[in-house]
């Protein structure tokens, strides 16, 4: 579920940039991308532990 939310958030970010609502820059993409990957790995690790 966390992975789905993370991928969905990245997709929405891309869509907002494509329609011109948001100006996507590396200073935004970097933290968002890292947060998405971190959340996915964290959730995956915690799931395995359980």
């Amino acid at each position: 579920m966390v992975a789905g939310i993370a991928v969905l958030a990245l997709g929405v970010l891309l869509l907002l940039d494509a329609v011109g609502t948001l100006d996507l820059r590396f200073k935004l993409l970097g933290p968002v991308g890292c947060a998405a990957m971190g959340a996915i790995l964290l959730a995956s690790g915690l799931t395995r532990r359980q």
Binding site: G4, L8, L10, G11, L14, L15, D17, L24, F26, K27
Partner: protein
């Protein structure tokens, strides 16, 4: 004293230690590998393959074979019966060989490390990726590890292809389509969490989203083609609204252009590569530029890195031309100046009269 007494007084015969000897029978060259096979009771072909492989890696196998040839006696030689004979001669020979061949051995070790270390990292990454995707951790069996590493590496390759495709699509103007695909994948993963997990979608979706996002963040637009473009307009009417290039080298030289007093807009749009704008010395330049990844040099100012913004809105005296430069470079460099050795490459001819430095001049025509 009887014969039986003599036999009883002799010390018990100690077992003869196994000796490593070069084999006369079954030898290919000197019998070293055959002897090793006999000594360790394994097929000598294993030692032969190892020696050949090591011979190609800096010559270590060759050296080891020669050393063994010198040190290990043959099973049909008198030295087999007298182990110490010629031992010193053999040791000296090995030392001389080492002195001669150590650079090759060192090179071989580096070559071996350069091959094995990335290979080990690749295998470890493959196993970790497969672990993430399937939930199956690394097993103890070597074959099992190899199989999972291969599957993981396959997934990495697939994600790489997806990332390249996504980046290309986003650069070609299909960012909306990529965004919709990523959103659809996200919804599928989200729904799958409650119905049936689709973990295999996560990595490809992330690869697609991040590659397209990086292209968008850099502002890469491949419209305008690929190659070299050199524009030297004669007058303002010859100037384009936008000088555009997808990938390559874009030069806009305005030094011979008749420019009127007042504001003259110039727009440069480059995806990947180098953009150069050369302006006359009596023209004031106001720059609003963005470079996704790379450097921007505008006269004496230099900025580089990620998300480079140049905002130099300068005013000009009433009777002076002011170029309003708006530039967008995805990955690469933007150079704006009056000219230098680098910029004066006129039809491949370097202006050797100028100093050999990247001097773009100063923006002196603007108001102080």
């Amino acid at each position: 004293m009887t014969t039986d007494d003599t036999t009883q007084q002799l010390p018990p015969e100690s077992p003869q230690p196994r000796r490593l000897l070069r084999a006369r029978s079954g030898r290919v060259i000197g019998g070293v590998c055959a002897g090793l096979g006999r000594y360790f009771n394994v097929d000598p072909i294993i030692f032969r393959i190892g020696a050949i492989v090591l011979a190609f890696v800096g010559g270590a196998g060759l050296l080891a074979y020669l050393a063994a040839l010198l040190l290990i006696p043959s099973d049909d030689s008198p030295a087999a019966a007298e182990p110490s004979r010629n031992r010193w001669l053999a040791i000296v020979g090995v030392v001389v060989l080492l002195c001669v061949t150590w650079p090759f051995l060192l090179g071989g070790g580096l070559v071996l490390a350069a091959i094995l270390v990335p290979l080990a990292l690749l295998v470890a990454t493959g196993v970790l990726v497969w672990w993430f995707v399937s939930g199956e951790g690394p097993g103890a069996d070597a074959g099992d590890i190899a199989k999972r590493a291969a599957l993981g590496i396959g997934i990495i390759c697939l994600c790489g292809l997806i990332a390249i495709g996504g980046a290309w699509a986003a650069a070609a103007g299909g960012e909306t389509v990529v965004a919709i695909i990523v959103i659809a994948a996200g919804v599928a993963i989200l729904v799958g969490a409650f119905v049936r997990p689709v973990r295999f979608l996560v990595l490809p979706a992330i690869a697609l989203a991040l590659s397209a996002g990086a292209v968008s963040a850099a502002g890469i637009d491949l419209d305008g083609g690929v190659g070299e473009r050199d524009y030297r307009p004669a007058s303002v009417s010859d100037m384009r609204d936008t000088y555009e290039l997808g990938m390559g080298e874009l030069i806009v030289d305005l030094r011979q252009t008749e420019l009127p007093a007042g504001d003259v807009p110039v727009r440069i749009d480059l995806g990947i590569g180098e953009a150069r704008l050369v302006v006359p010395e009596d023209v004031c330049v106001a720059t609003d530029a963005r470079v996704g990844i790379g450097e921007a040099r505008t006269f004496e100012r230099h900025s580089d890195g990620v998300d480079v913004d140049v905002d130099e809105l300068r005013d000009a005296p009433p009777d002076t031309t002011r170029l309003l430069v708006e530039a967008d470079v995805g990955i690469g460099s933007l150079r704006i100046g009056h000219g230098s050795t680098n910029l004066d490459l006129d039809h491949g001819q370097i202006d050797f009269g100028r100093p050999l430095q990247d001097d773009l001049g100063r923006n002196l025509a603007c108001d102080a």
